[in-house]
Each structure stands twice: as C-alpha cells, then as structure tokens.
C-alpha cells in the first residue's frame, strides 16, 4: 500500500494487507495521511520562508515584523500534530523495546496490544480535551494576546484534527492486530 511518498531505504509499511471493510478504511486512512503529509511539507517550507522574509523585511526594508513568529508557530504546531497519525502508521513514535527478548512471541503480541490500547485511551482523552478547548476558544472568540492577535481556533483546530486522525490510526492498527492475531507484529 502506498503512503504517497517513497521513503528512501525504508522498509515497506508495517501494516499488513487486510480485506473487507477494514481494508478499505485502512486504505482511506493511508490516503489521508499522505495528503496531510504533503500539506505539512508545504507548511514546514512556509515556516522557513516566513522567518527568512521576516529578516529581509525588518533589516533591509525596516518594516515591523510582529506577526512572523506567530505564523511560524501555527504552521509548525499544525505540521507536528497533523503528522502524528502518519508517524504512528509507520510506528515512528519511539518506545523502549528493551524487554522484548524476555517474552515469548505470544506474550509480546499481548504486550503490544496492551501498549496500543493504553496509548489509544490516552489519545482519546487528550483529543476530547482538545476539542473542548477548541469549542471554548470559538465560543469566547479567544485570540492570542500578541499585537497581531490571531484567533486561537486556528492552532487549536489543527491540534484537534491531528489528534483525531491519530486516534483513528491507532484504532485501525488495533483492529488489524485483533483480526490478524498479531501476525504482522
């Protein structure tokens, strides 16, 4: 299955092929991840450009530069949270695997399943709280307290969307593990 981007020297995706409805969902998620990754790449470049422009505008043109830092923060916060699911799909959120050798393969499967479920539980809580933070910011019309004062729903919204995608990604991985009895891991 394609993630839309070929990573140099990387092993093929850790997600096994599954058929049926689950397979379709997995494909969709992979597609969404690859689009999100692409947009995040643009955001990363944009953040660099904005900061570079800031130097040019202030040093050479003597213009005030009071919004560039915040734009970059929003772009980078957005990129980081939105890519959470993509990184999870590649099992890129690093953990300590030091105890792997002490367990039988069956016990390891259970351990990994436990880890995934515990991670999902945390992320669901976090995602829920992010949505309520977003809700509050929208209702109250909260902005940052800087001179530029952009609305806070922008970064909060990106956080909420990214965390939601991450939860879905984790849920799919757990379902796959249950369905394939963890053969893939």
């Amino acid at each position: 299955m394609s993630h839309g981007v070929d990573l140099e020297g990387r092993k093929p995706s850790l997600t096994p092929q599954v058929g049926g409805v689950l397979g379709t969902l997995v494909d969709w998620q992979a597609k969404i991840n690859s689009y999100v990754l692409f947009v995040s790449m643009l955001a990363l470049l944009a953040a660099c450009l904005v900061l570079t422009l800031s130097v040019v505008m202030r040093y050479f043109l003597k213009w005030p530069t009071d919004w560039q830092d915040e734009v970059s923060v929003f772009l980078l916060i957005g990129a980081v949270f939105m890519c959470g699911a993509f990184v999870q799909s590649e099992r890129g959120h690093i953990g300590i695997s030091a105890l792997e050798g002490f367990f039988s393969p069956a016990a390891n499967r259970l351990r990994l399943l436990f880890c995934d479920i515990a991670s999902l539980a945390f992320c669901i809580f976090f995602t829920y709280k992010t949505w309520s933070m977003l809700h509050e910011a929208v209702v109250e019309g909260q902005t940052t307290s800087s001179t530029w004062g952009p609305p806070l729903w922008i970064p909060y919204g990106l956080m909420a969307a990214g965390m939601t995608l991450l939860c879905i990604q984790m849920l799919l991985q757990i379902l796959i593990a249950l369905k394939t009895k963890g053969e893939a891991n």
């Binding site: 202030r58 005030p64 009071d66 560039q68 307290s145 001179t147 004062g149 806070l152």
Partner: protein
C-alpha cells in the same frame, strides 16, 4: 479543625527567598507567610517561581477554571481571552504611582473587577510598576527617537504606539532579547524596571530610559485568586486574603520605586547612561497613544469603551 488549605501561587519571575530577589517573588512569599501566620496555619501558600508550574500564558486560563489557585501576572497577558484586560498596560494611561494607586477604589477599578469576576478571577492585590527602555546605540526618550529602530514593545498596545512613531516593531520571546540585542538584531526593548535588571541587558545596551518620576509605561500586574477557589473558603479566610493582599500594595509600591532607581544605578555602573522622562516627553507619547492604542481599545466593545472613559477620569 479542618485540614489546612494550601494555595498554589504561580508567577513567571525569577525565584528567590522572602528577603532577597525579585520583589514580585518576595511579595508572593510574604503573602504566603502572612496568611499562614494570621490564620494559625489553617491557610498556607506555596510559591512556584519562574513559570515552574505552568507557562505564563496558561496561568489566567487555569485561574478561571480553578486549576490554579493564585497568580501574580501582568494583567494584559489575558488580552486574548478578556480584551478589557489590555487596559493594564495602556501607554500613557497611567503616568505616576500616585495616579496608579487611585485605580483600585475608583470607578475604573470597580468596573475592571466586575469584568474579571464574571470571568472567574478576583484581584487580591493591585500591583503597579513602571518600566523603561533599554537601548543599544541611541537613547529612546521621545517618540521621534524610535524612528527606524528595531524595538520589542512587549505588548499589543505599546507596539501600536511604536509603529505609529515609525519603529520596526518585532515580536520575540523574552528569553531571546539578550542574544538579539547582543548581535544587533534588536535595538531596544521595553519592560518593567525589575525585569530590566534580571535580563542583564546593561551588558549589551548602553542607554536606559528610566521610569523614575514620570513615565508613559505603567503596568498592572496584580496578585489574583481563582473565584471558584475563593468562594469555597470560609468568610474569615476570604477576609484574611483580601486584607493581607491590600497590605502588600504598599510593599509593592516601595519596591517598584526602589527598582526604578536601582536599574539606573546598574546601567551607570556598567558604563551606560540613564535618562529620565520630562513632562513634555510623556505628553508626546500620550498624544500618540490616544490616537492609536486608546482609540483601538475603545472601539473593541462597549465594555472596553466604558473602562476607557472611566480610566481617563483619573488622568
């Protein structure tokens, strides 16, 4: 008797002891010691200095939700959540400690307290502090001096005034000021006298415009308590908190004035120069502020307009 209640008091300033260090930290520690003594240990305070509990910007929200008990923080930091609070650092709105001291019991103080109470926050101690400008190459005394300089105003309203004066205003975290000024990426920065001392800008900035005597830069940084926490306390403890809070205001004014002097000495010792503002200079800044920051504030909402009118009564 019931278990003692411990109030967590958070602030962003450098931590010290009750006798030495940043006066805003000492004020919190004195407050904690005093309420403990007078309540016979039923009420205590733990001070978290230097944003060691939570980030500066998270404090106000946490107070509102009751996740934080107390905080000493510049009021205008809450400007994104409660626009009325921007009055706390309105250039030219307060020009002396004597005028500042009138706010608490004047109509404007009552109006501001009302707004905050609706948002779940109560002011315990009204702390005002003057500030100044540290500048690298040329002193910034009159608005005309700011033209073409790269300045960090540090607040929304101050930035508006500076822009109108022709400065290239920039936004940067306060922990980068030193490095930026050292390299020349930044020409001047404005902040309170006490923070000017702790940022050690005298090593890289040779000119200081002080807040001694008169200035257009006054900041309200009150000690506040979460309303939901306050409401759960018995009446006697509520009264104790407000009484001790009011007593701290005198200490704050003495210390703030002392720091206005001290910062000048620091710069002179480091081989720099200190400049005081004349009445005429303050008036010039005030005139620009009236057309920019004040106007902008008054147009935000009816509530802001009302507070602006009330504040102008004290001019």
């Amino acid at each position: 008797a019931a278990d003692p209640v411990t109030l967590k008091i958070s602030h962003q300033f450098p931590g010290g002891t009750i006798d030495a260090g940043d006066f805003r930290d000492r004020l919190c520690r004195r407050f904690a010691a005093e309420i403990e003594k007078r309540s016979g240990g039923a009420l205590k305070g733990t001070v978290y200095a230097g944003s060691s509990l939570m980030k500066t910007n998270a404090q106000f929200s946490a107070l509102r939700k009751g996740a934080l008990d107390m905080s000493l923080v510049p009021l205008n930091y809450a400007g994104g959540e409660v626009p009325e609070t921007n009055i706390g650092l309105m250039p030219g709105m307060v020009t002396s400690y004597e005028q500042a001291a009138k706010w608490k019991n004047a109509e404007v103080g009552k109006a501001l307290s009302e707004v905050l109470a609706n948002k779940g926050v109560i002011i315990v101690s009204w702390i005002w502090q003057a500030g100044g400008v540290a500048s690298r190459t040329t002193p910034v005394v009159d608005p005309s001096d700011a033209k073409g300089l790269k300045i960090r105003g540090g607040s929304k309203e101050m930035d508006m005034v500076l822009k109108a004066a022709g400065a290239a205003v920039l936004d940067m975290p306060s922990n980068e000021i030193y490095a930026a000024m050292q390299t020349g990426a930044l020409d001047a920065a404005m902040t309170s006298s006490t923070s000017l001392i702790s940022f050690r800008l005298e090593e890289v900035a040779k000119h200081l415009t002080t807040g001694r005597g008169k200035t257009y830069w006054f900041m309200l940084e009150p000690l506040m308590i979460s309303k939901s926490v306050f409401d759960q306390l018995p009446k006697s403890q509520q009264d104790l908190i407000m009484t001790v809070g009011a007593e701290m205001e005198k200490f704050a004014m003495e210390q703030a004035k002392a720091d206005d002097q001290a910062v000048a000495t620091v710069y002179q010792k480091a081989g720099g120069k200190a400049y005081d503002l004349s009445d005429a200079s303050v008036k010039k800044w005030q005139a620009i502020a009236r057309e920019t920051a004040w106007k902008n504030y008054g147009e935000k909402s009816e509530s802001c307009a009302r507070i602006l009118t009330l504040a102008e009564k004290l001019l």
